[in-house]
Symmetry: C2
Subunit: 437 residues, 2 copies
Amino acid sequence: MGTPLRSVAERDDELEGGVELLCVGTELLLGNILNGNARWLGEQLAALGLPHYRQSVLGDNRSRLIRFAQEAAERSRVLITTGGLGPTPDDLTTEALATAFETPLEERPEVWADIAAKCRSRGREPGPSLRRQAQLPRGAQVLPNATGTAPGMIWSPQEGFTILTFPGVPSEMRAMWSATAAPWLRDSDLAQGVIASRQLHFWGIGESSLAEQIEDLLAGRNPTVAPYAGGGEVMLRLTARAQTEDEAFRLLDPVEQELCRRTGRLCFGADDDTLASVVIASLRERGQTLAVAESCTGGGLGASLTSVPGASEVLLGGVIAYANPVKRDLLSVPQELLDRHGAVSDPVAIAMAEGVRRCTGADWGVAITGIAGPGGGSETKPVGLVHLAVVGPDGAESSGERFGSSQGRDWIRRLSVGEALNRLRLRLLESAAVADA
Amino acid sequence: MGTPLRSVAERDDELEGGVELLCVGTELLLGNILNGNARWLGEQLAALGLPHYRQSVLGDNRSRLIRFAQEAAERSRVLITTGGLGPTPDDLTTEALATAFETPLEERPEVWADIAAKCRSRGREPGPSLRRQAQLPRGAQVLPNATGTAPGMIWSPQEGFTILTFPGVPSEMRAMWSATAAPWLRDSDLAQGVIASRQLHFWGIGESSLAEQIEDLLAGRNPTVAPYAGGGEVMLRLTARAQTEDEAFRLLDPVEQELCRRTGRLCFGADDDTLASVVIASLRERGQTLAVAESCTGGGLGASLTSVPGASEVLLGGVIAYANPVKRDLLSVPQELLDRHGAVSDPVAIAMAEGVRRCTGADWGVAITGIAGPGGGSETKPVGLVHLAVVGPDGAESSGERFGSSQGRDWIRRLSVGEALNRLRLRLLESAAVADA
């Protein structure tokens, strides 16, 4: 599971003493939802350079919450909680924390005024159940919630131990974090330098093959390099720790350059880049346009491209040619090609890409035709076989890929979209290299 | 965050004593990956009717793992761990657990033989680092891993406390769970009946409005009813506990019927149903076909429909008409309509749907045209405005929706796809009702 960042999360032999996280919600224990809050907060704590050793999930249970808070006070300097701040009787976090440290709850008039005003602005009278949300332990500071009704708190119930509470609604929690909690933590004496990280994205190589090529770099301590795989692509996360952000990035740069040197065109981008965004940017730079013709992906390639803001400067449109008559009538794929080679073949893929290029007037045409399954496979053309064509000013190319059937329909469709984008990316790189030569 | 299932996860006043979960991996603390294993195992434990009160995440750190295991032994009957079973020095789970309970590690010849055979079948000689994976604490039973090299274990280091370990790789963990761990837990005396649950899906109503209509049912204890929202739809999860699965489903049925009675056509399906699968099934039943014309969703509607296996019986294809000339040339939308009303308008949406219906020969045509942003909005046509048309044997209808701009481009596109599918669903229901009358 990648090389752990000992330098941060496992820095030394101190057992605890850092920031711990508690997510409250029976729906988490039941597996009804993924704990995205824990992931997001983990990233934020790492970015702030805060030691973070433990995450926990408890249900909406008063006794367990009380006992947990008392345990956390023994081992950690900061406890961050999410969830359990709402107006219903199941929302127990504030009350349990107050009880754990034998502190009375007090209604804060300014909080109640804010809750009431928010309700009225939505045309509702604030009900009595909302009143509970205005109660905080004596001595706690309000952690304001600009968008929702439930505020959090910053509270030090005992020397050297501070609790920060957040609602479970991700958008509210994130806004409160950025506005108030992150600056507070940054100014605390807990932060030990800063973390900078960069992600590199690869297509066309497996995680283990990539790892073998860069074994020496994976062993590094600062920066660390950790591989992850998902959705057909492989990512490397580079993370450095230093006293300043500039210094951390200076540690990252040479490692990133070495990685790019070794992997060449396998690396398609960094950080927020996607295959679609890289292709759109490359075409926009050249002032060229694109159209797509899709069979088994059914619109997924177009949807991927149009997920990029500003795609309309590049993508003219496309044809979802799911049924063969649509391939023939809208894309002018000759019936004879369909009869002779079958719909899943290079000649048909090329004819689809040429057809959509012609009927939209685009510079580039990309086509996908394949068997996503579960039905429709044969011995010579099994489920997972996909032919992909790229047709452009410099000619037409097509070839087949076998994505296999074991990982299912969605997987085959996702890989097909990625592979089509990557082939176009490589063609654009090649034609740029020819133009430069 | 919904009504908690007190009956299961918070059954009574016993503080602990159930099954707890520990996911080991620094990458989890750093937020590099989502903890999908915790969610999946939470669901499995609920389905088995096992009391489950606590989940934790620790990094790859020996001292903290040792201390945690000792704490868990004090409060729980079963500890399930994931991660840290690999061959590298960062994989510490087995060793830390053995140390926590002062038990020596022993190499198991049968495990080593299995690991070596798996390596050789992949054309590799087993290296010395893999040898660590064959070591288990004295007295532990092997929890076999059919696909990967690292086995887990089932081990009771002390009376009344059992540890089950799994690798962090989800596919291996799940296979080992189903093959060995679930049957073991089912036979343990921890299981308290079984849980049955059903999910109902709604489109066209917000979570709070739905909750207000069914307030009395949300207060139920067995079955419980809990609302969740995501991706524009609202879900209700009904969960019942009983001695047998049949009995649990008998508890669910009347509540489900009452929910459906109150909410009428807002409820579009149950369990694995999606708007796309419901629409595909309805059209297949009638022997009718469909084509789509998409502007701002760029293929997302087609991709959603073709995600359903067997969609090819119903969906003929479509046109991604992103640029206006494509709307005109491929869909025969009159230039005059585009000039007079603009591309985002009812007349153009209807012309697009009619155009794609005509050029594919489908029974039904659905069109989406809107402004997904971030650019392209104006005062009269702001970002988030989307017009959706459904054209079929019984006529043409179109109207606009304002999805707002605050939640961004992806959100607007996702809601547009859902809304288009839902409008087609409702039209199909209406025309069926007319046919029946």
